[in-house]
Point group: D2
Chain length 145, copies 4
């Protein structure tokens, strides 16, 4: 496939997943920046509601974002599967995220099997080099009917 | 200490933590049911916003609740320490929570050291026996000034 | 079933699993103390080889023991399934184990589903109250042929 | 610093850590292939003892190797610190390792703070592209005296 065709296909896939997510999670301030082969990049718009006193982003926001980035990368890999569910998530908080920057999650699937998909996610304060969190998560994929 | 005195002390502690949490996380639909020696029981009021299509509670709600239950149990053990932060959380999703029941989190600290506190959390759909999720989490405790 | 019958059945099950383990892991210094409904208690005989300089038991010994205790509890629950394999393990080290005491692992399964089994393990220095480690692990169960 | 000088320094560091490990863990069939800034590459020589019936490498071997690779990367970063201890390890098993190939662990530290160091490890069957396991682990670093 030519690069141009591939790019247009990925762009279509991105729109399709974005539309699906908007229906499933209408409240989430999440934008898909890119999808690829077993990868996804997602931005979370930090707002006053995401902050803890002291001015950092709350842990649950980072967990939500990790979970969503994994879901997007899986949908990008196996197609829209509404019944895929998280079976486990492990997250390490590395540094305080900046209160005045949005969050970027970069997800890469480590394995996409028939029954289980496992991936890792790095989260960054937008524009900064050092990750604020790292997560690994497992999704259970329903058997095809 | 007599049982009566102990009970009244724990009740005071519960109110104090509840007030603190309300200031820190004003939006969270969370109620502290009980605190004890290295333990906490917390209820999360499930509403339409907590649901995924298909009628189950979303994973991030369970993560948020786990994190909060750990925080409450730590505050109950070492006193109000605003700067305690989560350093890691591991969660396993065991069963679909019921959409029409609130969630109960029961936390027990496994270790409360000088620098790190580690605990485990079981989450239940209120009134049911089988846990819907199990989490372990680590908090970093700031050095005393 | 009468208590006597149940006890004799569990004792048979224990012997059957012990024999199977001995064939699969002939080198492991592990003894099954008890099995029950979704539970197992296993002892690891600490020897000079298990120690780190400084006189504590090495981390990998605790991981091995956690993994084995989970395996025994699963075999006790679903029967001898040679192809069950660990898919993930999460362990928190809580306290230094004593160099001069054997280790006891107490495992309880949190869920035994058709495809996945999840359990937790507490490890103790024999005779002491505070756990030295806590683990959760997931096994994948092969489909029935 | 010139590239030549840097290389010779890293080579010295590698020898120093290898010598230290040999004293601490004389039985482990482990060889340090490379160390760098917050990174380490370690080989585990698979032998008959490391195998499970069926011909795969046992889970505990992969856990041991993950833990060791993290330790080597930490020692390479902060110097020989005998009292650094693992506080947690999370491992996902992705594919069956080959029975007839050694294992290669590539570790990268995600954060090396004053009290905690967190890193991730990919494990491969030597010469193959897809990882057989992925781990994240946390070490507690003792305060300087």
């Amino acid at each position: 496939m030519s690069d141009e065709l591939l790019e247009s296909e990925l762009s279509n896939k991105k729109s399709e997943i974005a539309e699906f997510l908007k229906k499933e999670f209408p409240q989430a301030p999440i934008e898909i920046l890119a999808v690829g082969d077993k990868t996804a990049t997602v931005r979370y718009a930090v707002s006053f509601d995401s902050l803890r006193p002291g001015g950092s982003v709350s842990g649950p926001v980072l967990m939500t974002l990790s979970d969503t980035a994994l879901y997007v990368a899986i949908l990008a890999t196996i197609g829209i599967v509404p019944m895929a569910v998280t079976t486990s998530l492990n997250i390490n908080f590395l540094r305080m995220p900046k209160a005045d920057r949005h969050l970027i999650a970069e997800c890469k699937m480590l394995k996409v099997g028939k029954a289980l998909a496992i991936g890792e996610v790095f989260i960054y304060s937008e524009g900064l080099d050092d990750p604020v969190a790292h997560a690994t998560g497992t999704y259970s994929i329903p058997p095809k009917r």
